[in-house]
């Protein structure tokens, strides 16, 4: 049996992922630069990936790690489209400040 499984309870991984996810949420709520907000979303996705991989190893089930690959695919697609939209926004407003993007409010 793997040394990691014997010596580290799965709870540790759950808490680590929770903390990383909450840091990502805090970043999304506080930062105003749209690029950094996208990066915080990537951090949240990674926290979930870590949890999936941990459970996959502890239960010796490969499906969790396959799911991580699919999340990576979606994250890469999201980053590409998100940054494309961001460049477009910058072209129109000359800024990446998300508080300027309130056109739908009025």
């Amino acid at each position: 049996m793997l040394e990691t499984i014997r010596t580290i309870p799965i709870d540790y991984y759950v808490y680590l992922s929770t903390i990383l996810f909450v840091i990502g949420v805090f970043g999304v709520l506080t930062r105003r630069n749209a690029i950094v907000v996208l990066m915080c979303v990537e951090l949240m996705l990674n926290a979930v990936n870590l949890l999936l991989a941990a459970f996959s190893t502890y239960l010796s089930d490969a499906q969790g790690q396959i799911m991580v690959f699919f999340i990576m695919v979606v994250a890469a697609a999201e980053a590409a489209v998100g940054l494309g939209i961001l460049v477009m926004i910058y072209r129109n407003t000359k800024s990446t400040d998300i508080s300027l993007l309130d056109n739908l409010r009025n």
Binding site: E3, I19, F26, T57, L59, V81, M88
Partner: protein
């Protein structure tokens, strides 16, 4: 040994994530996030998910973060010009995410009720096993992921074009 490695990597990744959120310069944020990703790759190696660790480094550190850095340099945002949110907003965000943390930890505190099998298979994260599962049980999602990539590529090019008439 594994425990010390885990705790070191966990502490480093949390510190780097905090550094990403709190640093004013976006380039520093990107570098802190890359460091966090390397720590997470270390966790994958600790979990014997070696293929996942390699793919993680290639995709995240090698592709996604380079894309972020590239856009950052392209838009010339590599200086501390970011306007800050008001203090009251920051305090509110801190309380909200702190409540989320307390809720999640409180819900999970009683211990995770999973029965770990007695004889676990250590080879589950190696490329041979993962490839077999990916190309037998998950063939259809795999192909759909390919279509999603194609759609994202077309979408990114279409969004990035200056005028669609040309």
């Amino acid at each position: 040994m594994a425990q010390y490695l885990f705790l070191t990597l966990a502490a480093l990744s949390i510190l780097a994530a905090l550094g990403m959120v709190f640093s004013r310069n976006p380039v520093h944020s990107v570098l802190f996030l890359i460091f966090t990703f390397f720590c997470i790759a270390g966790q994958y190696i600790l979990l014997n998910a070696q293929f996942l660790a390699v793919v993680h480094i290639i995709v995240y550190a090698g592709a996604i973060m380079v894309l972020f850095l590239f856009v950052l340099m392209l838009l010339n945002l590599n200086k501390d010009t970011e306007p800050q949110k008001s203090t009251i907003w920051r305090i509110t965000a801190g309380i909200a995410s702190g409540m989320l943390l307390v809720t999640l930890v409180g819900a999970l505190r009683g211990g995770i009720q999973v029965s770990i099998p007695e004889n676990t298979n250590d080879q589950v994260g190696l490329v041979e096993n993962l490839g077999k599962v990916l190309f037998t049980d998950f063939v259809v999602p795999f192909e759909i992921a390919g279509i999603l990539f194609l759609a994202a590529m077309v979408g990114a090019v279409l969004v990035g074009k200056r005028d669609l008439k040309a």
